[in-house]
Amino acid sequence: MEVINEIKFSMPSLSVNESTARAVVSSFLIQADPTIEELSDIRTAVSEAVTNAVVHAYRGTKGKIELTVKLLAGREIYIRVKDRGCGIKDVEQAMEPLFTTAPEEERSGLGFSVMESFMDKLTVKSVPEKGTTVVMRKRLRANEK
């Protein structure tokens, strides 16, 4: 798929960077003129993926979270959130709605459900002790201008 534009950056796994990631993605997506709903969907999905990396991948430690955003031909948005944290032993189980390993922190276990609902495609690849890569895609509606 032809890449029209892309950004890639990494940030420390600090919780304050959940909003940093949303802000960067929002700024990048303005060029594609998304609807408010589309922008809101993507920001929410990115926030969930980055929060998972902060809360679960680097639990009790610090590491880097790498965020890649691409605008592809056909108004498709590609987002990759990658960490080198503890990884997920059972991805299928982790993606079940309401499954959480951090109930004491009031994690609702809905992060992947939100990503799946708000984006068109979601792929999660993880290797224990190596890290997790979340890839999400969403096609924006045709620009009527």
């Binding site: 919780s15 304050v16 959940e18 909003s19 949303r22 408010i36 709903e37 809101s40 969907d41 920001r43 929410t44 926030s47 969930e48 929060t51 902060v54 809360v55 922190e105 009031e106 994690r107 609702s108 809905l110 992060g111 459900s113 939100v114 609902s117 708000f118």
Partner: protein
């Protein structure tokens, strides 16, 4: 993130403004719990009119406060959430536990 709590006709209303994510949910949780434990209101309304963003961290926040209020003999209501926030609420099925208007 800003939180103002006022009382109207015996109902406590918590007006939230800003964004709710994992980073700032912790502070909100602490402040709301302090209020709930001290006052033990029979009803607490979370007014979300001025919330500009919320991810699933907000669901954990609402469910946790609902549970605490129930233990204190009260009930929780969520009011005036923007449409995109209502979509997150709907995914969680929280409307079965908490009144959302």
């Amino acid at each position: 993130m800003k939180l103002d709590i006022k009382s109207e006709n015996g109902i406590a209303i918590a007006q939230l403004s800003g964004e709710i994510d994992h980073h700032n949910a912790k502070e909100l949780r602490t402040e709301l719990d302090r209020f709930i434990i001290a006052v033990q209101p029979p009803q607490l309304v979370i007014d979300m009119k001025n919330i500009t963003f919320m991810d699933s961290s907000g669901i954990g926040l609402i469910m946790g406060r609902s549970k605490l209020l129930k233990e204190c003999g009260g009930k929780l209501e969520v009011r005036e959430a923007q449409p995109y926030i209502k979509r997150v609420l709907k995914i969680s099925g929280i409307e079965r536990i908490v009144k959302v208007t």
